[in-house]
Amino acid sequence: MKDVAILGVGMHPWGKWGRNFVEYGVTAARAALADAGVAWRDIQFVSGGATLRNGYPGYVAGATFAQALGWQGAQVNTSYAACASGSQALAAARSKILSGECEVALVVGADTTPKGFLKPQAGERPDDPDWIRFRIGITNPTYFALYARRRMELYGDTPEDFARIKVKNSEHGSANPNARYRKKFTAEEVAASAMVADPLRLMDICATSDGGAAIVISSLAYARRVGKTGAPRIAAISTVTPSFPSVIVEMPDLATDSAITGKAHSFRAALPKKAYEEAGLGPKDVDVAEVYDLSTALELDWIEDLQLCKRGEAAKLTRKGATRVGGKRPVNPSGGLACFGEAVPAQALAQVCELAWQLRGQAGARQVARARVGITANQGLFGHGSSVIVKR
């Protein structure tokens, strides 16, 4: 049995609050501890997701949060893995528990983000592909748009299909007190928003946000001792790398691998595949999914990568309403990145928080009926990504 229990989850609401990221982390951590009914002093391992935009305290986020909550002698870790930082921090805590080195751990991610496009670190750094691509004008939305256009060409998806994702997610997010954007948008409003990277408009692309998320996890034995036998469990955490040759051009690269020596691989599809194997579960078991909708169109790619439908059929699934709360395959009941905006080291944890609430039946107006198995999917720069399966 490789499961660990989720004893508690908590968040600081997403927004553009302009305060220090540590405040968001502490608020989220205290909420998760209260939800778990575990005292801070009892936490044996603190695992932080790093942020690179907040100076040294962000590089050592685990220790930063531990100090802010009050040094109490716990072991500490910080993980950085771009958008998958939260999942890797969670994986570190799970490993500690499964190896028997500790019984209960706190995982925290929080970020304060600047306005506008995410941009590379400053300076003249032509050895860094992330610097080079911005130098010649290739931003994050460029990649999202290339994938979106590809869907239009391969499967006949339309901008209206993409807008439908925003409309759906904004409806979900309108019922989420932690979401930054809680207005319900219409397809007309999406279509009237400014074009950013053809075919994607402003409302097709997620913003960057401030926010914090935290999770308390423990061994199953500890969960029993504190009376949480029925708590949701983490059944899998996949953080696999791509396999060579990777033939979809990924941020921040200017070119794909050359596929002359081997079979082509898709990174996105590999992430949930490993999670399903680890959990001993399959796509048919999934009741609810939280996927990384950096763009509206990308949600469609993820639905197919999670094998919730056949390749090329995600737009049809969405048109039928199947991916709405109340449909057969609810996706992003939290409202997704469309309603949150991305707070990098917190975002993968926020996905797991949502699944915990869904599986405990505490998601209020956005509750997916009888949710017993949930999966997350997330991807970031430099071969990082994650997929987490939570089950009841």
Binding site: P120, R133, G137, L146, A197
Partner: protein, 141 residues
């Protein structure tokens, strides 16, 4: 193919400077034949290959349009935007021989609305707003 390094290039050694028939300069692993762009010079990234020697190769200068988009708003620094800003298209072009896709801006005057999936594209050289020369893609006339 000799690499001609000129002061005008944004990234010297990344492409030839022959404006009539420019080529991207990549590398090819001498052990397994895998192509790289940008150049790889010290270790082959094919997990089945321990190669460490490479030859510089001129990559195919034309290919098929895999996907495309544009930049309606000025990208952030270190991009140097023209004043006033001029949106430009961006192409992902599939090179048949190398079996890889290479990104690049599209030459001035060719908007995203003129691009179609699968259309033949070829390499061009054109200056960015700060006068630095770089590779761009353009439709084969």
């Amino acid at each position: 193919m000799p690499a001609s390094y000129g002061p005008a290039a944004l990234l010297p050694g990344w492409h030839t400077l022959d404006e009539r028939v420019p080529h991207l300069l990549g590398a090819r692993c001498k052990s397994c034949g895998t192509y790289y762009f940008p150049k790889q010079v010290s270790f082959c990234r094919n997990p089945a290959c321990n190669g460490g020697t490479f030859e510089e190769v001129a990559l195919s200068r034309s290919g098929k349009l895999w996907s495309w988009t544009n930049a309606c708003y000025a990208p952030p620094e270190p991009f140097v935007a023209a004043e006033p800003y001029e949106p430009f298209a961006i192409a992902a072009v599939e090179l048949a021989k190398e079996k890889m896709i290479v990104l690049g801006p599209v030459v001035k005057g060719v908007g995203a609305n003129r691009l179609r999936a699968g259309m033949a594209m070829e390499l061009a050289l054109e200056a960015l707003a700060d006068g630095k020369l770089t590779w761009k893609w353009k439709p084969v006339p």
